[in-house]
């Protein structure tokens, strides 16, 4: 009996300036196989389907449990995590390419540090007095915890930014992930001390006004964050803040 195989087409690019080429691979099918295990197989046997030797594919990955946010890429045109992309659920040939909205490093690896810069710009933290034992934290009722917890599940994969038509160099839009974190920290009893700073950071160019409500973000989010809800809530808060700031002038 012939072994069952899986066909892959992977977009390769040796460096940011090198030309992109597509390479085809024919791999032995295994139960439970995901896109990551295919990459691992290629690393152990770096040969294309035409028998030409090649190099292992460069890509980001770490936990392989869809919680670290590393392995986002375009799989059959869709921004998603490679670890949770099971081969059996994908149409073949499985076409894998890097996220398109971020500077390419090599092959499937891109530079997504802009998200971490954005989180710094909006002060996405709770300003605690110190790390000494200062007694228990503020009381938080379960209802509030249940509202905040989903926002805190963001894995910084940047899928929401990749699929957003407004996320591009022209607008400089921060993207949904950062806005959701603003909502999270503005909701926190201590974190809200920076509420006005955060809203002002989202008020100008590249801020929340750039959102065109395409709602692609919420569709693409692998962790089902309530992104559109966060955007409308923060949009309202930003407008209120703008009005307040105008009146104070």
């Amino acid at each position: 009996m012939a072994t069952k195989t899986v066909s892959f087409e992977i977009k390769r690019q040796a460096s940011p300036d090198a030309p992109a080429v597509w390479e085809k691979f024919e791999l032995e099918w295994r139960p439970g196989m995901n896109v990551i295990s295919a990459m691992m197989e290629i690393a152990a046997n770096p040969i294309t389907s035409s028998g030409a030797p090649t190099t292992p594919v460069t890509y980001d990955s770490n936990c392989l449990e869809e919680i670290c946010g590393s392995c986002a890429m375009l799989i059959n045109g869709r921004a998603r995590m490679a670890c949770s992309s099971l081969v059996d659920n994908l149409e073949q040939p499985i076409r894998v390419e890097p996220l398109s909205k971020f500077p390419l490093v090599r092959d499937l690896q891109v530079d997504r540090s802009v998200l971490f810069d954005n989180l710094m710009a909006v002060k996405a933290w709770v300003p605690v007095d110190g790390t000494y034992d200062l007694g228990s934290g503020p009381r938080v009722f379960p209802q509030q915890q249940e509202a905040n917890y989903p926002l805190s599940n963001c894995i910084s994969c940047t899928c929401c930014m990749e699929v957003c038509p407004q996320f591009n160099e022209e607008t400089g839009f921060v993207g949904a992930a950062t806005i959701a974190q603003v909502k999270l920290f503005n909701n926190h009893p201590t974190g809200k001390v920076f509420k006005e700073d955060r809203l002002r950071a989202l008020a100008g160019d590249g801020g929340i006004q750039e959102c065109g409500f395409a709602q692609n973000c919420v569709e693409a989010c692998p962790k089902q964050l309530p992104l559109t809800e966060a955007i409308s809530d923060i949009n309202r808060d930003v407008l209120l803040q703008k009005a307040k700031d105008w009146l104070r002038k």
Partner: protein
Amino acid sequence: MAAPRIIVVGGGLAGLAAVIKIAEAGGAVDLFSIVPVKRSHSVCAQGGINAAKNLKGEGDTTDKHFDDTIYGGDFLANQTLVKRMCEAAPGIIDLLDRMGVPFNRTPEGLLDFRRFGGTLYNRTAFAGATTGQQLLYALDEQVRRFEADGHVKKYEGWEFLSAVLDSKGHARGITALNLRTMELRSFAADAIILATGGIGAIFGKSTNSVVCTGSAQSIVFQQGAYYANGEFIQVHPTSIPGEDKLRLMSESARGEGGRVWVPRKAGDKRPFGQIPAAERFYFLEEWYPKYGNLVPRDVATRAIHKVVYELGLGLEGQPMVYLDLTHIDRETLHHKLGGILEIYEKFVGVDPCVEPMRIFPGMHYTMGGLWVDFNQMTNIPGIFAAGECEYQYHGANRLGANSLVSCIYGGFQAGPNALQYVKNAPPSESNGHHEAELTRQAEINNKLITNQGGENPFRLWRELGQVMTEHATVSRYNKNLKIADQKIVELIERYKNVNLSDRSQWANTSFAFARQLKNMLELSRTVVLGALLRDESRGAHYKPDFPDRNDEKFLKTTKASFTGSVEGPRFEYEEVDTQYIKPRPRRY
């Protein structure tokens, strides 16, 4: 005088905890990490973090937490530090709470707690089933705050290659590799904290993340640091076998009432729902009536192996057993275990609220690690270690939900201790050792990138993983451990013929991996030979030929030192600090 500068390698919970303490005290930190720190392996911790807050009226105390931890670790842990950690734990939970970790709450708005393995108390605080992720994010956010004000400089995408040691053997910095540009550089600091996590990769497939290779620990071991208790490897009873890794299925599933069972009849083909209660073998509950499904991990793992391999009762003859949550209502499950149920459904395609999960033990954690003193410093002056990469807190077996607290506590100790050390450290006489170390590293790199031979590093790694998993996990036999060591020696020899199919100088992942692989191979020998020499059974280290604990001979810390790639590690033994709790038989 300029602020003291300290290098922290690793941006998981332990590393970030150390960074925060140093920055808070006014020190400056260079933080090195292979991945952006927010993507570190700590995100994988699921179930929770232990602290005896006694918010359930059970009379829990930090002393009981201390006793459970020592007893769970089969008396191998040095007691003084474990005691301090358990005493500090409630304050750590409060701090995390103040930092905004969305812990689950009681109706009154207080922290909720659940039960974990190896204890009879509800002592585990949790944020759904993604506690590690939430904790790591809280520390990541605080570090970003210190980054914004200039106390911390991050070097993400840099891999630690070696410590720079001066002529007296004191640490004076590190060399590191930029994983994108492949630039080799040295960085100066009078103290280094390694917080580089676990070693799962030496077992091929484990519950660990890709970066958990143990490479950094192995490097400083090869530079003269002791590696302690390497033979103590935790195999988690409940993981989901996969092609690329073994995915963790948290102990919290059992903490919330999950039951482990198999059909009493071997090879029973009926769907689970058609098997009446009387024909189900809830073996943990039958064998361990007091702790039931929440016996410590080593005990549960051996029980599952017994059921599968000795009694032949694995599901449909396969090495798998049921972990059943279907008797619990969906809303409770979603509220308390959401994250892990989602993982199971995504990767297996079955809803665990409807059908029991199929699980099997998988390599999960190393209790052993770099030897450190009570100040978290290794025997190399100026090199500190914290978190899973050191050996201090868990003895022969770690209790569930104790790792998060040990990471943060260890980091909180290492940071201030490193600062103190730097203040008193004698000034470096010259910078010559930086250049010498750079030359040594450049030679290794050049040799590797130009090496001609027939060995693919990824295939060598698979062979290592197979032999380690087969011979050095749940049941260990001296005959097999010797076979495993011979195999590793063979792989070290074959590594000399390693041939990189990628010889480029840009984001070359095979190059970085091949360097890690050499270090994995060297470290594997401390695990295998440490196990070979320890002729007893204690905690996770189980030898069927020596089924009892032997305190007279082996109530001792194993210390391995590197003597050379050919000679292998040398072993010596150190007394264990048992001043608070007298060792007693461990019977659950």
